[in-house]
Amino acid sequence: VLQDLAMSRAEAGEADFDALIGPHLEAGYRTALAILRDPDHAHDAVQESAFKAWRKLHQLREGRPARPWFLAIVANQCRSERRGRWWSVIRVPEVDSVAHEVHTDSIDISRGLANLPREDRLALFLHFYLDLPLEEVGAVLGISAGGAKTRVYRAAKKLRPGLEMD
């Protein structure tokens, strides 16, 4: 009976993890790719983040939403990886290799994004690419929703200096 109980608990844990974190693994991978700009490192970061999430799954059951919680783990893992290999050259996807079919403004935006501070770039990625609401952007970045709004606006303004907030 005890063995069956242990088995059912293990299966429940796997099912819980798959149900809670599974839907956000792709978003985690894309976030890691946006930060690290290397698909292999992004895969590693997501895998390591998933291990951390698995070990700390009890934190999630305290009523926290899963997506920003997991993406925050991913972002922290990526920051750690970048600190650990700060001397290495980051490989940037060859956006310019298809520049002949890209509008000039797009090139400017791409270059502008590449030159933004890491946290500004992450804020724009989360809000404009992953469509996270500002509350969740703030949760990932470890700031308030108001702070996230300010960061997104300031980052956008760095790309378009004349930008006015809606």
Binding site: D18, L25, E26, H43, Q47, V95, S106, I109, L124
Partner: protein
């Protein structure tokens, strides 16, 4: 704002294109993760406890040595001289000539090829060799007045990132795309600065990067003085 939103989204989409996660990402990650025990094994407390215990033992050992010496002070003079325990601790590195340091390093470091040393260090400077082994060394060159210092080492360094006044560049030193040149404070002409590069070659302690990891750092040197020394390594 909406137009910019579209442009930003398009830029990120272009950046992410071609790097889509595999269809099995979710299954693979979940399978790998759930195969692990969930309880986090945290042995950090054990490491901290061991470090504290070791520290206490070291302090106790040093204090007992000092107390033993104090206790012998009022005693009658010993007829024959005996060595103080403190004299038998680690010998201080000896300052030698630049040429002697070169010979010493080239003879000892056999696990790294090539072994590079600067030829532009003035002969009047002194040298101090530490961390000498078959695969690594650290040599510190000091000017006669002590105002200028140059350190060259085979090691994988982990210096801090630059501050607000600092600067970093990738000089492609010796063709190394990973090379990094950092000036800690570019408002000071003789600020502390360093150059890290991987010299093409072989190293008996591979660290995942090709070649031999060299670390050149200097204090009290201008940019041109630093590069004169950097460009003289051979």
């Amino acid at each position: 704002m909406d137009e910019l939103r579209s442009e930003i989204r398009a830029a990120f989409e272009k950046e992410q294109a071609g790097y889509a996660p595999g269809s099995a990402l979710r299954r693979n990650v979940v399978d790998a993760v759930t195969a692990q025990p969930r309880r986090e094994s945290n042995f950090q407390w054990l490491a901290v406890a061991a470090a504290v215990l070791l520290g206490i033992l070291v302090v106790a050992g040093l204090m007992s040595t000092r107390l033993a010496q104090h206790a012998t002070v009022p005693a009658a003079p010993v007829a024959s001289p005996s060595a103080s325990p403190r004299e038998t601790v680690l010998p201080a590195p000896t300052r030698i000539t630049v040429a002697a340091a070169d010979s010493l390093i080239r003879a000892a470091v056999t696990g790294a090829h090539p072994v590079l040393l600067p030829s532009a260090i003035p002969a009047s400077w002194s040298a101090e060799v530490t961390n000498l082994s078959a695969s690594s060394f650290t040599v510190t060159y000091t000017s006669p007045d002590g105002a200028q210092t140059v350190i060259l080492a085979i090691q994988v360094p982990n210096p801090p990132p630059p501050g607000a006044q600092g600067s970093q560049s990738a000089p492609m030193f010796h063709g190394d795309t990973h090379s990094l040149y950092q000036v800690d404070d570019k408002t000071l002409a003789t600020s502390h600065r360093f150059l890290i590069w991987n010299e093409p070659g072989t190293w008996s302690e591979p660290n995942g990067l090709p070649g031999v990891p060299y670390f050149l750092t200097a204090s009290g040197l201008t940019d041109s003085e630093f590069w004169a020394i950097a460009n003289s390594v051979k």
